[in-house]
């Protein structure tokens, strides 16, 4: 099936089976490797992207369900007003260990801050608990979110 996907503001034509998850269209058809595969079952958040600004799991979103929604991925975050702040905070706090989960973490954190610019700890717990960090950088993720929200200063 032919689809036109709007990704980070650019239209991409793809021809894939309708059941193909958006994750694999991004990674293997469009060669956008930033969105990661962790579980394939909506359990880990490594594949988080935005559909019209809402964080979704690309591994569990068939391409046929995307329609005309605006897709944002980690590759587009440098141009995203909140996403850029989140990326900068991530660097400032030196959040990553292996780094594999961090694209998904940044996408979830950006969606959270876009909606809730000054999140409480409970907001962070609620919105970020779908994203696993196996290296367990959670202390720093929390600090970085607060930094991006302008609530704390850098390390």
């Amino acid at each position: 099936m032919a689809y036109t996907l709007n990704i980070n503001g650019v239209n991409h034509a793809v021809d894939v089976d309708e059941a193909t998850p958006l994750l694999w269209v991004l990674r293997d058809v469009l060669d956008m490797k930033g969105t990661k595969f962790g579980c394939g079952s909506g359990l880990c958040g490594a594949c988080t992207v935005h559909l019209n600004g809402v964080a979704v799991r690309a591994c569990s979103t068939p391409v046929s369900g995307v329609g005309t929604a605006a897709i944002s991925t980690i590759e587009g975050m440098a141009e995203h007003p909140v996403g850029k702040k989140v990326q900068d905070a991530w660097l400032e706090i030196d959040v990553a260990q292996c780094g594999y989960c961090q694209a998904g973490q940044i996408m979830s954190a950006t969606a959270l801050l876009a909606q809730t610019p000054k999140p409480t700890d409970a907001d962070i717990d609620a919105h970020m608990s779908g994203n696993i960090c196996r290296c367990a950088t959670y202390n720093r993720i929390r600090t970085a979110i607060k930094l991006a929200a302008g609530e704390t200063k850098g390390a």
Binding site: T20, D31, M32, G34, K36, C39, C98, A136, Y138
Partner: protein, 740 residues
């Protein structure tokens, strides 16, 4: 390749080759473009300096999140005396002749390389100084260096390393053994919080990991293996699979393992390979695959069966004596109080965030493999052997790995990818599903312990016995399932008896972050806490006394320095306000410490337990963990080190709270994060980290902060609730019969 070569021609190489008997020989050369060939390819180059002063340093060891790609080059840059902002880092080639051991395991990267890499950097600096002395016609002794410049203070002249590089190539090579090292008080890079070198790529989603590798013409592969370890394929419905969209190849791989062999590193396990245009197509086609397996006898094994067998063994005489000091039976007879308890812990999967993968391109009798590995040389040897090739025909590229934790020390997926590429005749990226990853691991082995302790009238520990029911056969422990004669409190109790009994196991086991220690710390540090409470003593006071006196000797002296342990214990309890803070009812503190991988680590956990409900994950809230480590005189990168400490502590929390792999029908039950729970943000307690610098050589930090976490939590749960956690994880029923 051409692009790289033309760049290289403008650069200078610092060549270091290992010489027999230790030490390294260094030499500089400026290879001309035309001269770059096989000779240069075998050079041991750590450092290149470009004319503009940009210094490129090779990161010799695999990066899997432990931060070594940043911290090892920091050591070279320090002694080379350059500004960190002018340093670029490249992954080194996999070449043991040039770089020695290139693995990420056992927290060994820092202790193995600290001294050598300082000398590599210092030798480079010395050659640049010699070059400046020649150029300025002054004695080298009048020259100093700073931030990538050689300075002649007397004449107020200074030359940049970039300008000196070509001349430096012509000066004699210093002997690494005698090269002058910096006074550590002058360190400018070592000891500074330094950001992960790949941070910018990570936060912007640039290709970086094994899974991101692309090779022109590459197809995607999945590989189905027998759920019962060691099984092989009898038959499979390949025609049906081949008819699925996008599928180019589907074939049976007989495998190279001897019957009954389950060690992941032993060769290539049999299975069915499916190769398709996209990974999703390969995986979808796999949904149609029906395989008839030849299953080994271990298909009758189960976790339930192991627990029952362990309970039988606990009542019998142990099979193997591990250590005996004094006379435990006599001491227990004379003891004022005897304490007994049974502990158990489950199998664990590594569950690194990036599922296992390797990209391989077999062509003209050679194969090139891109892989996130903790031990690429071993994976190369395994792949070469499985394919019947010479190791020199297997070229391996080290790619950043999305977590390792010991899983990627064995990389059988390299052999799988190479085999599939050869048979399919195309480059392939083999990517496992999460379920493949979780069901084909080498697991942290579970275990069962039956403990007895005796205390005298003054509350002093006088006897300790542990009968360990573990996995193995013929008196031999399964991989990472052993109990050593050196395990604390050996040497600190006059009458001590460690022994083991074995259960044959058809499931592969292997190292996982702080192997053995990650389980034994829970058992021994929890049981010692039980003993302290049974004696009516404050655990801190009990432990400081225990650590203060050697009361038995080992045949060979143990490397454990109890004074260092006492010091970290004192500092962590001070930071946590042990015994000083008024805690609300239902809240308690627990302490634990452990020596592993040369590191001394102690933790205090503060926990609140909901009263009057059965102990469960939901009833336990971990408020905070204080963590102190003594890993020697320097913390190379405090930012990375703190991250490792926090990660290890939270990893331990995940284990004590909810992680458990169970075996049924000889196969792994759990397949994904729905049943094998990972720690989530809402459970991630704040972890306050401190380092105690001591006058000892620096050692590694990837592992030693994990082991004491579990007992610190368990001991805090007891302090908060009076309930003793003896069977982990917490979401399991409680077993044990302590006399408390």
């Amino acid at each position: 390749m051409n692009a790289i070569r033309s760049k290289v021609s403008r650069r200078m190489f610092l060549k270091a080759s290992a010489v027999t008997g230790g030490g390294l020989m260094l030499s500089f050369s400026v290879p001309a473009f035309a001269a770059l060939g096989p000779t240069e390819a075998t050079l041991n180059a750590y450092v290149r300096i470009a004319a503009d002063g940009i210094v490129t340093i090779a990161a010799k060891n695999p990066e899997v999140g432990q931060g070594i790609k940043t911290s090892l080059p920091m050591i070279i840059a320090e002694e080379l005396d350059v500004d960190w902002k002018n340093v670029r880092i490249e992954m080194a080639a996999v070449d043991g002749d040039k770089y020695g051991v290139q693995s990420a395991g056992g927290s060994t990267s820092i202790p193995r390389n600290w001294d050598t890499l300082r000398r590599v950097g210092a030798a480079g600096r010395q050659m640049l100084v010699s070059a400046a002395a020649k150029t300025l016609k002054v004695p080298a002794s009048e020259l100093t260096t700073s931030g990538g410049n050689v300075i002649h203070a007397a004449s107020k002249r200074s030359l940049s390393y970039g300008a000196l590089a070509a001349t430096a190539a012509t000066v004699p090579v210093p002997d690494l053994k005698t090269v002058a090292l910096k006074d550590p008080t002058a360190f400018k890079i070592i000891g500074q919080r330094t950001k992960d070198i790949d941070g910018p790529k990570i936060v912007t989603g640039q290709p970086l990991f094994g899974i991101d590798v692309s090779v022109p013409g590459m197809l995607y592969a999945v590989y189905e293996k027998c759920p019962v370890f060691g099984g092989t394929v009898a038959s499979a419905n390949l025609d049906e699979v081949k008819a699925m969209p996008g599928v180019r190849h589907a074939f049976i791989v007989a495998g190279t393992l001897a019957p009954g062999e389950v060690n992941l590193g032993a060769g290539l396990a049999g299975g069915v390979a499916i190769v398709a245009d996209t990974w999703w197509q390969a995986k979808t086609a796999r949904g149609k695959l029906r395989v008839e397996w030849k299953e080994p006898a271990s298909k009758s094994q189960s976790s339930v069966g192991f627990a029952a067998r362990a309970a039988e063994l606990a009542k019998q005489k142990p099979e193997l004596s591990v250590r005996t000091d004094g006379d435990v039976d006599a001491a227990l007879k004379g003891a004022a109080k005897v304490i007994t308890a049974s502990y158990s812990y489950p199998f664990l999967a590594h569950a690194a965030m990036e599922p296992q993968n390797a990209t391989a391109h077999f062509k003209d009798g050679k194969v090139e493999i891109w892989v996130p590995s903790q031990n690429p040389a071993a994976g190369r040897a395994q792949a070469a052997k499985a394919l019947g090739m010479d190791e020199k025909d297997v070229l391996v590229h080290m790619i950043r790995g999305g977590g390792g934790f010991g899983r990627r020390l064995t990389c059988e997926f390299m052999a799988e990818a190479a085999w599939i590429s050869r048979e399919a005749g195309v480059p392939v990226k083999l990517l496992w599903t999460r379920e493949d990853d979780m069901r084909h691991d080498h697991y942290r082995p579970g275990g069962f312990h039956t403990l007895t302790a005796g205390i005298d009238a003054s509350g002093k520990l006088i006897a300790l016995r542990d009968h360990f029911q573990t996995y193995g056969s013929d008196g031999k422990f399964a991989n990472s399932a052993n109990l050593g004669a050196d395990i604390f409190p050996a040497e600190f109790v006059p009458n001590l008896d460690y022994s083991a009994s074995f259960m044959p196991l058809g499931t592969p086991t292997g190292p996982m972050r702080a192997p053995r220690s990650n389980a034994l710390a829970m058992v021994f540090q929890s049981f010692l806490d039980e003993v302290a409470h049974a004696a009516g003593r404050d655990p801190l006071e009990f432990h400081l006394e225990l650590l203060s006196e050697h009361r038995a000797k080992s045949p060979t002296p143990l490397p454990f320095d109890s004074a260092r342990m006492s010091a970290v214990l004192k500092l962590v309890t001070e930071k946590a306000g042990w015994g000083k803070r008024e805690l609300p009812k239902g809240t308690g503190m627990g302490l634990a410490y452990y020596f592993s991988h040369s590191g001394y680590v102690a933790h205090v956990a503060e926990v609140t337990v909901t009263p009057d409900v059965p102990l469960s994950v939901n009833a336990v809230k971990i408020n905070k963990v204080w963590a102190v480590a003594d890993v020697g005189s320097h913390i190379v990168n405090p930012s990375g080190a703190e991250n490792q400490m926090q990660g290890a502590v939270l990893d331990g929390i995940a284990q004590v709270m909810g992680q458990e792999i169970t075996i049924a029908r000889g196969s792994t039950v759990q397949g994904n994060f729905d049943t094998y729970t990972a720690l989530r943000m809402k459970q991630a307690a704040p972890v306050e980290v401190h380092f105690l610098l001591s006058n000892n050589p620096p050692t590694g930090l990837g592992e030693p902060a994990l082991p004491p976490t579990l007992p610190a939590i368990a001991n805090a749960i007891f302090a908060a609730s009076g309930q003793r956690l003896r069977d982990i994880p917490l979401n399991k029923s409680i077993r044990g019969t302590a006399a408390v």
